[in-house]
Amino acid sequence: MAPLLQITNLHAGIDGVEILRGVNLTVNPGEVHSIMGPNGSGKSTLARVLAGQKSYQVTQGSILYNGRDLLEMEPDERAGEGVFLAFQYPLEIPGVSTKYFIKAALNAIRKRRGLEELDAFEFLTFVKERAKLVDLDMALLDRNVNEGFSGGEKKRAEIFQMAVLEPRLAILDETDSGLDIDALKTVAEGVNMLRGPERATIIVTHYQRLLNYIVPDFVHVLMGGRIVKSGGKELALALEEKGYAWTENKADATVNVATVNV
């Protein structure tokens, strides 16, 4: 099986400061990976580089997505090819209704996939069904994108957008932060329902608790810009118990292994 995503020796940073220092990661279709790590370890940088945020510069390494060079693609092209980033801090867009925004996004993506644009009725029916999936208040659709949404509503709206756009590779950047336990469960249900043999998910998180509800196949610990440890779901539990410091003395050894793999 060809990997959906293959990150090799990725070095990237912002404003001349290197944050990612040789990340290697392979994600196959159907898999759920969790990237964990302390603050400042480079988790969000990795997520944003994958989505194509221009303020981050990739200085070394490569990312293959579905066999194509992801770094050559514009952010909207990546989205069209099925990459989705649920933002840690979703942007507010005054003057643009959520409904209009999501319709523009869906139709742009459908167009790229060679599908017909949905008419107003089809669109509304589809959107209603997806909103139900993540228990999103339909009234939010008539409000401007994320404007005045609570923290929880913003996160829920991100997962709703994901449910509408049906990505092949979903990257959830700290989606659990700011969510109470009920919201967390709903969001997790939404994500789980979208799991499938063709799709993969990368969950970037600081804490283990979301992983109680979205069970990952692999857990990676990112520290100092490198993946220092990889394992199964039990690794998340070990981290929760022992803290990130526990992995630090093993960092060098793991890096060596990673280098050999390259």
Partner: protein, 449 residues
């Protein structure tokens, strides 16, 4: 040796005097004194320079130096179908002026709407005698030219224009559209459209003024409108600038509000090389509401100036100003808003907001609010922002599959829409949205829900 003799070229002043005398013969006798007085005053004032504080950011040198002649009637008048571009629907009462002259045939159109009882819609040049007293008591009484060169010039050439009178208690349901079309000749021409609108007590109306002309010609529209809104009356007023890309447009609106009256004015500037909208509102009675909205989109080397003055003379009145400008290329946007609150005009609530969006590094915006408050217990605020598109928002939209160009368009449109959304008359809102959309750098996106 040969001697070359050339005809001495006439100076701009001589041209003006020639045109003034030429037109005086045709104008109404009752206007002679007014016209002469205004002409003499213009002679003293001359064209304003940037040394004049009110004209600091807008140079009218191109107008002063353009050797403009009073525009004649065009050799070929526009065809009815050319109006289609400018009309909002067939469901409007319409007066059409070509090069400043009332055109009865175009105004009547294919199927003119019958005027409701109590609504007078006439050409100023041949308003029936029944309205002479009303005209006499209002014309040039609100747009003072003593310190306003362009108003003086307009008044000096006062000849034709639109007269609207809504009688007491009459509610006009369909909009009244005054369409001023310029058809430039070979030489740069000037027209001085004049509008007088009297909404008597307990009445209401929607009035649209459109100023339009073709691209590729130099001409000058110098418009003055005087609007009197009676007690408990309201007017929904639109001034839509669709001048050609070589046009100069100076447009004054003087609003005079009586007790408990309400004004909503939208000024949309979508064309012209050098445009200045001057709005003077005099709120001279208690309990009035005055909402002034503006939107403009300028590119190339366009210069758009919105110059507002609101005088709160009596207590308990509200005024709102919201102006939004989109500036691309080397365009310049100027906003000057003066709010004057007279002694005793307590409980005044005045809010002024000006926002400019710069789409290029070479576009410029200037904003100069001015509050003069001589009363206690008033609420006056002003805010001015000059900004660029939010790159993070663009990335967010791109990350959802929307192309960069479309994301920009959506953000620009959303910016302007804050003002457009306030337009009550749906056909106007829809048309202005479409026109604005066309003027956006890309404009490829299908409009959404």
């Amino acid at each position: 040796m040969t001697t070359m003799t050339t005809m001495p070229e006439m100076s701009a002043t001589d041209l003006l005097a020639t045109d003034f005398e030429r037109q005086s013969g045709a104008a109404r006798a009752s206007l002679t004194t007014l016209r002469r007085g205004a002409f003499d005053r213009f002679g003293q004032l001359g064209y304003p320079t940037t040394r004049n504080e009110q004209w600091k950011y807008t140079s009218v040198k191109p107008i002063a130096e353009a050797a403009l002649r009073l525009a004649d009637a065009p050799l070929t008048p526009p065809h009815q179908r050319e109006l289609a571009e400018y009309v909002f629907s067939d469901d409007e009462h319409r007066l059409v002026f070509v090069n400043g002259r009332f055109d009865p045939a175009l105004s009547a159109g294919a199927a003119p709407l019958p005027l409701p009882r109590g609504v007078h819609l006439e050409s100023l040049a041949d308003a029936p005698a029944g309205n002479a007293a009303t005209i006499q008591s209002h014309l040039a009484r609100h747009a003072d030219y003593d310190d306003a060169a362009f108003v003086a010039l307009n008044t000096a050439f006062l000849h034709d224009g639109a007269f609207i009178r809504i009688e007491r208690g009459v509610v006009v349901e369909k909009p009244i559209h005054l369409l001023f079309i310029t058809r430039p000749g070979d030489a740069p021409g000037v027209v001085h459209p004049r509008v007088l609108i009297i909404v008597e007590d307990d009445a209401s109306a929607t009035v649209i003024e459109t100023y339009a002309g073709p691209d590729g010609s130099k001409y000058f529209t110098n418009a003055v409108a005087e609007v009197v809104v009676g007690e408990r009356s309201s007017i929904d007023h639109y001034r839509i600038g669709r001048e050609g890309d070589g046009a100069f447009h100076i447009g004054r609106i003087n609003l005079h509000q009586l007790r408990s009256s309400s004004v909503t004015l939208h000024v949309a500037t979508l064309g012209g090389a050098l445009v200045r909208n001057e709005i003077n509102a005099v709120i001279d009675a208690e309990g009035c509401n005055c909402d002034l909205y503006g939107v403009y989109a300028a590119s190339g080397t366009q210069h758009v100036d919105n110059h507002l003055r609101v005088d709160h003379l009596k207590p308990r009145c509200n005024s709102r100003e919201l102006f939004k400008g989109i500036l691309d290329g080397h365009a310049t946007g100027v906003f000057r808003g003066r709010i004057f609150v007279a002694q005793g005009a307590h409980k005044t609530d005045a809010k002024q907001t000006s926002r400019s969006l710069l789409l290029s590094d070479t576009a410029r915006a200037r904003s100069a609010p001015q509050l003069e408050i001589f009363a206690d217990d008033v609420k006056c605020t002003h805010g001015a922002t000059i900004g660029q598109l939010d790159e993070d928002a663009i990335f967010y939209m791109q990350a959802r599959g929307i192309s960069r160009d479309d994301a920009r368009d959506m953000l620009i449109f959303a910016f302007a829409n804050e003002a457009l959304a306030q337009i009550r008359h749906q056909p106007i809102r829809a048309r202005l949205e479409a026109l604005l959309w066309e003027r956006l750098p890309h404009g490829s996106l299908a409009r959404g829900p």
